[in-house]
Symmetry: C2
DNA sequence: CGGGATCCTGTCAGATACTG
DNA sequence: CAGTATCTGACAGGATCCCG
């Protein structure tokens, strides 16, 4: 039998539930990496949820070709976006959110709206905390 | 004037909006680290949103003392939980979600529910992707 | 234009040992 | 019991060069 609390798998022990590393962690780890949120933000507001490589690169301050490529590969691997390659000269490549990728946006938006509301307070907490142990 | 799209700051350029690194990324990076979600999950389901250090340590498979301490410090710094120290012998320390910490749970739950629904599909996409370029 | 291949670096997780 | 201190290897990510 598989037990879950709030959808998270755990095993019962005599001292209470013990969670194991699980899916939410893996996905949030991906979203939490340095560039993924920025890439998704751009595609979220783009017409057709679709942009070419150079538009993404120019739109994200400080990202290198390599990191953009890696970020896009990971998102493609997870099925969150599709890569469209046009063998023209010069070549053109467009990235587009999949249905699954687009379906994630409301959940992400819900979370980011919480963050926006609470961000000033978190920032204040950090400064208080840091000052208390300078 | 400060422009935002979906709450994210950006600067306008002749080629369209350019986002800058912003608060959502920082918070998600924290949540995405290896242990934070597991710590929050435990506190979320604990009575009074409150647990002592050893309960957390025992409840999270594989975490080291050091990493649990660091994870808890970061959450405390962000104002998401409080540390209660009882100078007994042996000492006892309890960690408790703050109001802000508890207010984050619904947003987190919304996100993790999306993940649970889509996780099998993401896993399938990864395997397809990996096989295609073995 | 898009991106693969290499090399290099700082950062951080993990293990271990010690302490009030 | 609940930490802190120290060391180490692994790895994320930046810089650079080249290629169809």
């Amino acid at each position: 039998m598989d037990h879950t609390i709030h959808g998270r798998p755990y095993e019962q022990t005599e001292d209470g539930p013990r969670f194991r590393p699980c899916a939410p962690h893996g996905v949030l780890a991906r979203l939490g990496d340095k560039w993924t949120i920025l890439v998704l933000s751009h595609l979220a507001v783009a017409s057709g949820h679709r942009l070419r490589f150079s538009e993404l690169k120019h739109g994200i301050e400080g990202i290198t070709q390599r990191m953009l490529t890696l970020t896009l590969r990971n998102l493609e691997r997870d099925g969150l976006l599709n890569r469209h390659y046009f063998p023209e000269v010069p070549p053109r490549v467009e990235y587009e959110l999949t249905d699954m990728g687009a379906s994630m946006l409301p959940a992400l938006e819900g979370f980011t709206s919480w963050i926006r509301e609470n961000w000033p307070r978190m920032e204040a907490c950090r400064q208080t905390f840091d000052k208390a142990r300078e």
